[in-house]
């Protein structure tokens, strides 16, 4: 069991790292085609990554250790999350420690590291991005934890593999009102956490509307490559988490090699579909004004609260 489980964890990390740029490439391609452009191809983010890695590492004058370690920490948290979340298998050596609250907190840790790096530059844009990002994070947190609460009630634990295994064995939980409400709430939160439309525009070129991009304006070369990779990995992992929670079919609950391989294939398909759907939806969305974002997040908070109360009142205890 352990050999297969360990291999599955390693494969999850490798697949997320290698696949994240491809997912972004796919999403850009879908978007380009829907807008009537040819697009740069799915492999373009990888080519960008290689190009940036070859460049000279730059330390802007006046920045400190926070600026240099933030990209490393961003990628490291994303990699640890990729190892913890049962994307393909629930029977892994780390499954005992894969707590949903820890996953949420690690995501926030990456964001905080990047916000500190933004402030560390001492530029107006860095501070602006950090300030906006922290505002969004502060408002996202209640929704996430309430959704966690709603998901953990039927399973009786916040342990992620246990929740997912419970959902595989009892598919009725997926279609329950609580499950659906939590799914919508988490989906909104995922958009906010990963800086997608309508909360933030990942391809914006207007500094005043930026959130994520404003924080990382001073990065160049390999540092920028890592920041980009980290952001892409976070998107992949969060989409994977959504897929695992709300479409858990195919995730291996035992240690058989065939099941794990099948699970990886299904994982890739599910995340690609989710990414393509998100990219397609983004074509039709406009970015919300910054001070309208709290309304969106308040709405998702309400959904999460409804999910918790629904799971109490509808389970008939």
């Amino acid at each position: 069991m352990n050999a297969v489980g360990t291999a599955a964890v390693a494969a999850q990390v490798v697949l997320v790292t290698a696949g994240a740029p491809l997912l972004t490439g796919l999403m850009r391609q879908v978007r380009a085609r829907m807008e009537g452009r040819a697009g740069a191809g799915i492999g373009q983010p990888w080519r960008d990554f290689r190009k940036l890695l070859r460049k000279e590492p730059i330390t802007p004058v006046g920045t400190g250790p926070a600026f240099r370690t933030a990209p490393l920490l961003l990628v490291a948290t994303a990699a640890v999350i990729a190892a913890l979340v049962p994307l393909a298998s629930t029977a892994t050596p780390v499954s005992r420690n894969a707590d949903l609250i820890v996953v949420v907190a690690l995501l926030a840790l990456g964001t905080v590291a990047l916000a500190l790096a933004g402030l560390d530059t001492g530029t107006a844009f860095g501070g602006m991005g950090a300030s906006r990002e922290m505002t969004v994070i502060a408002l996202v947190e209640p929704t996430i934890l309430l959704a966690v609460f709603a998901l953990s009630i039927p399973a009786g634990t916040t342990n992620l593999p246990a929740i997912i295994a419970g959902r595989i064995h009892d598919p009725a939980r997926l279609a329950s009102p609580a499950g659906l409400l939590a799914a919508v709430a988490l989906a909104v939160v995922t958009l906010a956490e990963t800086g997608r439309l309508p909360v933030d525009n990942p391809s914006t070129h207007l500094e005043l509307t930026m959130i994520h991009e404003a924080m990382i304006l001073e990065y160049a070369g390999p540092d920028l490559a890592l920041v980009e990779l980290g952001a892409q990995m976070r998107l992949t992992v969060l989409l994977g988490l959504l897929a695992s929670l709300f479409a858990p079919w195919g995730i291996a609950t035992s240690a058989s090699v065939a099941a794990v391989v099948l699970a990886f294939v299904l994982f890739a398909v599910k995340v690609a579909l989710l990414g393509a759907a998100l990219a397609a939806a983004e074509v039709f969305w406009a970015k919300l004004r910054l001070f309208r974002v709290p309304e969106l997040l308040a709405g998702s908070f309400l959904l999460a609260l409804l999910a918790v109360t629904a799971s109490y009142f509808l389970t008939g205890e």
Partner: protein, 682 residues
């Protein structure tokens, strides 16, 4: 024979020696001899020893030892009763550890007025009262020590009263509010003692069962209001954000990390132990107050640009989280679920320990900044990581604890608190179904805002470039201050990585409060074991994985990239050229989006003053813009009361016209009225 007794005696002895040294030693030795600040050094060493003794006594009690002493001769009529069980042991150990580290720090912390005779003589007494309040075992001893703590801390808060007028104002607020709290406490405990038929805690414990529910409820409401005020719970918090920033920083650390805890101790001691638990509404009140304080406190902290005020509001938030845990524990105990109650109470107590560690560290680091720059205003700080690298690093450790993210120590207890609330859904009843999700949301919102608050404090205060000449000229603190902070940082790291070592002690403390649910934490990892379920958090594992991840990413990047040498370059800033410090984001601008989002709650006041030039009304000479975010509760709740009081006072002055005839007339009519009243009643 446990170590607790001798340790308490040693602590008391050292406090006496320290106080005497504070009174009689000269302030300075001859300039060439080694400890130049003689008085502060001797007092600091005595206080540190006192703290160590308190830590030993508390640790012995946490290990299961019990100790009690009756000293009938020490106080006329009542005598002094001391008793140490695991619950008192926990708070004694926390207070002792904080006193130890902060006293070491205080040796080097030379502020204006902190070396004065009165201040140095009082410091060891305050430290002793912090250690001994949890050991009191009768109403009179408790009140005596409680008042001793209040009065000595008041003297310490006023230490710098010659420097700033705001210190005096803070002192008045603190004196009035702490004594109003004392009145409530006195009323509640006297009622309790009268109904229970004795004043030692043993008698109270035995007599509580025979009291009517109304009497029990009255006692609990009075006493918990007093304790909530000491813990800085909204709306009784008004003294805290004034007194903590104005006190010398090592005193702020003692107050914020050790004194406010005793509010939580009081509620647990009286509510769980002496009254033996109570109906649900008691605990809903505690939980609700905690949730409101958590969110309101951290929201005000997000708006504050004074570093120490920010930390003071964060204390309000963290004690709010503790009260959420205590309230939840009471609710679960009332519902008969002892295991869940033990889980919630353990989480609350662990948060007390964690908060003490990181808040003492943060206040000490803020003190170092204040000492080096003379500034508390974040808007004028910045760039300190280059000038004071050790202090910046230590502040980072503390901030990591405060933001409740792994691998910080605050995360561990907040995780445990969330677990207790999530699993609390097993308790049947509509109340839990409504209250628990809201409590989780309050914790989550306060955690999210805390992240913003400490990113602001660290990023604006320590990173970027200096925004003032004082910040640019900052120098690193002396070794004793760094050593004190190092002790606290080591405590934070230990609590963050191996919180399980406290497991047995916390269970004993919960059991001493009458909540027996077995060991919740064990070994290096936290394991929540309830009837059906178990959940695990291994902080050590998470930290190791993060470190491994960072190292792996760094190594891989270096392996793949071709040019390894980093070159310096000018900041790009979108081609805007080298930005000046004035262009950098300040704490106020950082908090602006949050302030807009929570506009309706915070009700900021803004004032635009346009002065046109004399010749034409259309040409503007000067625009003055002012925005303040006042503490709304203080404005809406306290100002009217204060205004009414002073109005009544002004009106009463008309009675005293200065005429002796008038006063004689008052005396005459007063006497007649009294006699008439007596005849009517008789």
């Amino acid at each position: 024979m446990s170590a607790a007794g001798p340790a308490v005696v040693v602590a008391a002895g050292l406090a006496g020696v320290g106080a005497l040294a504070g009174v009689f030693l000269p302030e300075r030795w001859q300039p060439r001899l080694a400890p130049r600040r003689l008085r502060a050094s001797v007092v600091g060493v005595c206080t540190a020893g006192l703290g160590a003794a308190g830590l030993v006594a508390g640790a012995a009690a946490l290990g299961g030892a019990r100790w009690s002493a009756d000293l009938p001769g020490l106080l006329p009529l009542a005598g002094v009763h001391l008793a140490v069980d695991a619950l008192s042991g926990l708070f004694m150990a926390v207070a002792g550890a904080v006193v130890l580290a902060v006293a070491v720090y205080g040796i080097g912390y030379a502020g204006h007025g902190t070396d004065a005779r009165g201040v140095q003589a009082v410091l060891p007494v305050f430290a002793l009262s912090l250690v001994l309040v949890p050991a009191a075992a009768s109403v009179s001893s408790f009140l005596l020590l409680w008042e001793l703590m209040a009065v000595t801390s008041l003297v310490l808060v006023l230490a710098e009263h010659r420097e700033r007028a705001s210190v005096r104002e803070a002192g008045v607020w603190y004196a009035v509010m702490t004594h109003l709290g004392l009145v409530l406490l006195l009323a509640g405990l006297m009622l309790f003692a009268a109904r229970a038929g004795g004043e030692t805690f043993t008698v109270l414990r035995a007599g509580a069962g025979g009291m009517s529910p109304q009497a029990r409820g009255t006692v609990f409401v009075l006493v918990s209001a007093a304790f909530a005020s000491k813990a800085g719970m909204v709306p009784l918090h008004a003294w805290l954000p004034r007194a903590h920033p104005e006190a010398p920083s090592h005193v702020s650390a003692l107050m914020s990390a050790a004194m406010v805890n005793l509010g939580a101790y009081g509620i647990v001691r009286v509510g769980f132990d002496l009254l033996g638990g109570g109906p649900r509404w008691w605990w809903l009140m505690v939980l609700g107050g905690g949730a409101v304080s958590a969110v309101y406190g951290i929201l005000q902290a997000a708006m504050a640009s004074d570093l120490k005020r920010l930390l003071a509001y964060s204390t309000s938030e963290n004690l709010g989280l503790v009260f959420i845990g205590v309230g939840a524990a009471g609710m679960f105990a009332d519902a008969g679920n002892q295991k869940l109650a033990a889980l919630a109470l353990t989480a609350a107590l662990l948060h007390v320990v964690n908060h003490a560690a990181f808040k003492a560290l943060l206040f000490c680091a803020a003190g170092s900044v204040l000492r080096a720059t003379g500034l508390r205003d974040l808007d004028q700080l910045g760039g300190l990581r280059a000038k004071m690298p050790a202090t910046a690093g230590l502040f980072t450790v503390g901030a990591l604890g405060a933001v409740a993210l792994p691998p910080g120590n605050g995360f561990v207890s907040e995780w445990l608190l969330l677990q207790s609330l999530i699993h609390g859904f097993a308790v049947p009843g509509v109340t839990t179904a409504i209250v628990l999700p809201l409590a989780v949301a309050a914790i989550a919102l306060s955690a999210g805002l805390a992240a913003a608050v400490f990113v602001k404090a660290l990023g604006v205060g320590f990173f970027a470039r200096p925004r003032s000449d004082q910040a640019a000229a900052a120098t690193e603190s002396p070794p004793s201050m760094l050593a004190g902070m190092g002790l606290l940082a080591a405590g934070c790291a230990a609590l963050a990585l191996v919180p399980g070592v406290l497991g047995d002690g916390l269970s004993r403390a919960a059991a001493a409060a009458g909540v027996t649910g077995g060991t919740i934490l064990s070994g290096g990892s936290l394991e929540v074991r309830l009837d059906r379920i178990s959940t695990v958090l291994s902080p050590l594992w998470v930290a190791a994985a993060l470190v491994a991840g960072v190292l792996a990413v760094s190594a891989l990047t270096r392996l793949v990239s071709r040019r390894r040498r980093r070159t310096n370059a000018r900041l790009w800033d979108c081609g805007g050229g080298a930005p000046t410090a004035r262009m950098a984001y300040t704490a106020t601008s950082f908090a602006e989006p949050l302030q807009r989002v929570f506009d309706d709650v915070l009700a900021p006041e803004q004032d635009v003053d346009v002065t046109p030039v004399r010749e034409s009304a259309y040409l503007v000479e000067r625009v003055r813009f002012q925005r303040r975010v006042p503490d709304r509760i203080e404005h809406r709740l306290y100002r009217p009361v204060l205004a009414a009081l002073s109005g009544a006072g002004q009106a009463a002055r008309r009675l005293a016209g200065g005429s002796v005839h008038l006063y004689l007339g008052y005396g005459f009519f007063g006497l007649v009225a009294l006699l008439v009243a007596l005849t009517v009643i008789q």
